[in-house]
């Protein structure tokens, strides 16, 4: 076993060294520079195309999916080794896809074999770019209170309503949605999970302007849109189960955004901006805030490490995702507050000569959304108090 893995690491490393073009290595500064696939997407460079094709041929676009769905069929340990080697050699992802990270897990668990063969393959081949349609303008944290209707019309559903907070909805080909298929029952029991082609007549996606400026979010409107009945995933009116399953995934992703998204060390920014005197930061109050933040960050990392070790030891707890979502986003907000304080008047400018045009200011404003999107901080605290601590409802 160990021999096999050592061998696998060696081979993988050699293959990556040989096949990953130089321009496809190095830190990914912005996910926009990656290849996203889809009907209207093109490669931005020849190297990007070569890299995608080579990885695709190996089955390594989604290395841990079954080969019959276009995956690489790697075991968890092999997949981990591949990921480690890619990190070590700083290889970029060949395809960035919500289809892989957000829809895939649902299809694998809830879709029919036919649906899997069809949709998973299109994801791996980068033919279809997916986006997510859960939230609605009037639902907010009460996700299950969604109103977008799918009415049974015999051979198809007729869809009316709108979705909000869809990332890159204006660039996606298909959308996976939660829709209301029964209004007579408890709200959670009348929801279904539906796949909709964004090319269908009556679909329109409009970008949303945030307080921080342009955003990747859209609001998507559905006006008498016809959707074939075979696009239903899982059982009719059982969509809430799928949603809950996927939300746990999403929460983990957003909790991690804090660091992943941040291209600088808070400590370095603060020390640069404020300066030291005898080795001590010039602003003693900010120093306390910074050290508190750095300690929080270090302990957060240790908690991730512990959660992974616990999971390996078989003590997996659902608790973790709410904790990480809550604390990870609080940390991100904390970092941006500290950076703004350190930057002082300089970082207030969003336009003008000799300014950075609000690079930091916009990030600061955008960070305020972290504790809202993907389930508000309040919802995470509710989940912890009810599901983990077992505190009673009224």
């Amino acid at each position: 076993m160990i021999d096999h893995l050592t061998e696998f690491r060696k081979e993988t490393s050699a293959w990556l060294e040989e096949n990953c073009p130089v321009s496809m290595r190095g830190q990914t500064k912005d996910i926009a520079e990656l290849y996203w696939g889809g009907r209207n997407s093109d490669f931005t460079s020849e190297d990007q195309k070569i890299w995608f094709k080579r990885m695709h041929d190996k089955g390594w676009i989604v290395p841990y999916w079954d080969k019959k769905y276009g995956g690489g069929g790697l075991s968890p340990l092999e997949n981990k080794i591949l990921a480690e080697e890619m990190t070590r050699l700083r290889c970029k992802q060949p395809l960035f896809s919500f289809g892989i990270s957000m829809l895939g897990p649902a299809l694998l668990k809830f879709a029919t074999e036919e649906q899997k063969g069809h949709y998973l393959k299109d994801i791996v081949d980068a033919k279809i770019r997916w986006c997510q349609g859960y939230s609605e303008p009037n639902a907010g944290s009460d996700l299950a209170g969604l109103q977008m209707k799918a009415v049974d019309k015999g051979d198809h559903y007729l869809i009316n309503g709108s979705k909000i907070w869809t990332s890159y909805g204006d660039n996606a080909d298909w959308i996976f949605c939660l829709v209301r298929t029964n209004t007579e029952v408890k709200k959670q029991e009348g929801i279904s999970f539906l796949l909709i082609d964004m090319n269908s007549e009556g679909v329109e996606a409009r970008p949303i302007q945030l307080i921080s400026g342009k955003s990747a979010f859209t609001e998507t409107f559905f006006d008498d849109v016809k959707v074939p009945k075979e696009n239903l995933v899982g059982e009719l009116n059982k969509g809430w189960t799928i949603a809950k399953y996927l939300l746990t995934h999403e929460r983990q992703m957003i909790g991690g955004i804090g660091e992943a998204d941040q291209k600088f060390s808070t400590r370095d920014v603060v020390v640069d901006a404020v300066g030291l005197h005898n080795g001590v930061l010039n602003d003693s109050i900010l120093r306390t805030e910074l050290v508190t933040h750095e300690m929080n960050l270090a302990i957060y990392d240790m908690t991730i490490e512990r959660a992974i070790d616990e999971a390996k030891a078989g003590n997996n707890s659902g608790a973790a995702s709410s904790l990480f979502k809550y604390f990870g986003t609080e940390l991100n907000v904390e970092a941006m507050e500290i950076i703004m304080t350190a930057g002082g008047m300089d970082e207030l400018a969003i336009e003008g000569e000799a300014t950075s045009n609000g690079f930091i200011a916009k990030r600061f404003l955008r960070s305020k959304g972290n504790t809202i999107e993907g389930g508000t901080s309040e919802i995470q605290l509710n989940i912890i108090s009810k599901n983990i601590l077992g505190l009673p409802s009224k």
């Binding site: 009460d142 002082g344 309040e378």
Partner: protein
């Protein structure tokens, strides 16, 4: 002097409120931004504000002002904070007029105060040189040569600097950077030679400027009478208190909008304002706002009665309001949820103004540090 408004002051406040609600609501700020207004404020509204007397609130009747003192100006600023009105109220009335009141020579007062009272002059106080408010950091120099001073140096964060007719420039006639001695104020027309003004739009959509003086020559009559560093500190103290009054208005408006939203927004079949966790957070904000009201009115009165602990009370007011407005504007967005993050609603404008006001004339940390020093630790 009781910590309540008298009838005259209350009436002033009411009329400013009505005026701004009509002429300068938050939607006006949005329009200034979206139309990329070259001034960053509405000159016709500013003219009406002058007509209403707002430009002369802190100018004595002798010079054509209303002589309402700073308690009066504070009420106007508070109301301007409620609608986030963009105007030269801070740059011209709060800072520059105060400087002239305190340090202008008789001829300077006679010449400028009537013009200021009329609203004919836009003035900017050019003092900052670093990223953080720092009263002693004056590297800009003014060198006397015969009957003229030559000014050299760079100023930053000059509020409304791009539209100023005149600057009050803080410059050094002697001593080294960070010396308390040797600092003086000068009146400089913005069209003098050697002045370069770069407009900077800030995140709250108001404007500051980077202003460069390169061998700018002015006649020596333009020197003001800053008798000592404490005079300069007094101008900053009054400025900080006026800003605190404006921030109080913003905090109240943001809070009231949030409470209204808590009552209106339904989730899980009930108004979200019925959730106790949000109720307690709202109650704590209410307490902070009540405390803020007390320190602002106390501080404004302290200017008018010329209290000798003005610097201390100014730090108290600016620090407290910085903290309150930060809390309320952050909670405002959080409690509005996703909606609060969109540019479509107005709640996000408060967090932007909060950040800029925080940094103007010393942030929370600056004033905490100063208060501790004044208390001897």
């Amino acid at each position: 002097m009781a910590l309540v408004l008298n009838e005259e002051q209350a009436m002033l406040k009411e009329s400013v409120k009505d005026f701004l609600n009509m002429k300068s609501p938050i939607s006006a700020l949005r329009e200034l931004r979206d139309t990329n207004n070259p001034d960053g404020f509405d000159r016709s509204v500013w003219a009406e504000m002058a007509e209403l007397g707002l430009t002369g609130l802190n100018i004595s009747e002798e010079f054509g002002g209303l002589d309402f003192g700073y308690i009066g100006l504070g009420q106007a600023l508070e109301e301007a904070g409620r609608t986030l009105a963009a105007s030269p109220l801070v740059s011209t009335v709060l800072l520059s007029t105060t400087a002239i009141n305190l340090c202008g020579s008789d001829p300077q007062k006679a010449m400028l105060l009537p013009e200021l009272a009329e609203g004919n002059l836009i003035m900017s106080f050019a003092h900052e040189e670093k990223t953080h408010h720092n009263p002693t950091h004056v590297a800009t120099t003014a060198t006397l040569d015969g009957d003229f001073y030559t000014i050299n140096g760079s100023k930053t964060f000059v509020l409304d600097g791009h539209v100023a007719d005149k600057f009050v420039v803080v410059a050094r006639v002697s001593g080294a950077v960070n010396d308390k001695e040797g600092i003086q104020l000068f009146l400089v027309d913005s069209n003098r030679e050697g002045i370069k003004v770069n407009r900077t739009m800030m995140m709250d959509n108001r404007n500051a400027a980077k202003v460069n003086f390169s061998n700018t020559s002015i006649s020596k009559e333009n020197k003001m009478n800053l008798s000592c560093f404490e005079d300069l500190e007094k101008i900053y103290a009054i400025g900080a208190i006026g800003l605190a009054a404006e921030m109080l208005g913003s905090a109240q408006e943001c809070f009231e909008k949030t409470i209204a939203y808590l009552k209106e927004r339904q989730q899980f079949g009930v108004a979200i304002g019925s959730f106790q966790a949000l109720q307690h957070r709202a109650a704590k904000m209410f307490i902070d706002i009540e405390l803020s009201k007390s320190v602002v009115i106390k501080a404004l009165k302290a200017i008018d009665t010329n209290e000798n602990n003005l610097t201390e009370i100014a730090s108290l007011a600016k620090a407290k309001l910085g903290q309150t407005l930060k809390l309320v504007s952050n909670e405002g967005i959080q409690m509005h949820g996703g909606v609060g993050m969109t540019d479509d609603v107005e709640i996000g404008f408060f967090i932007k103004r909060a950040r800029v006001a925080q940094q103007t004339l010393g942030d929370y940390n600056y004033h905490l540090d100063r208060y501790a020093k004044l208390r001897g630790y």
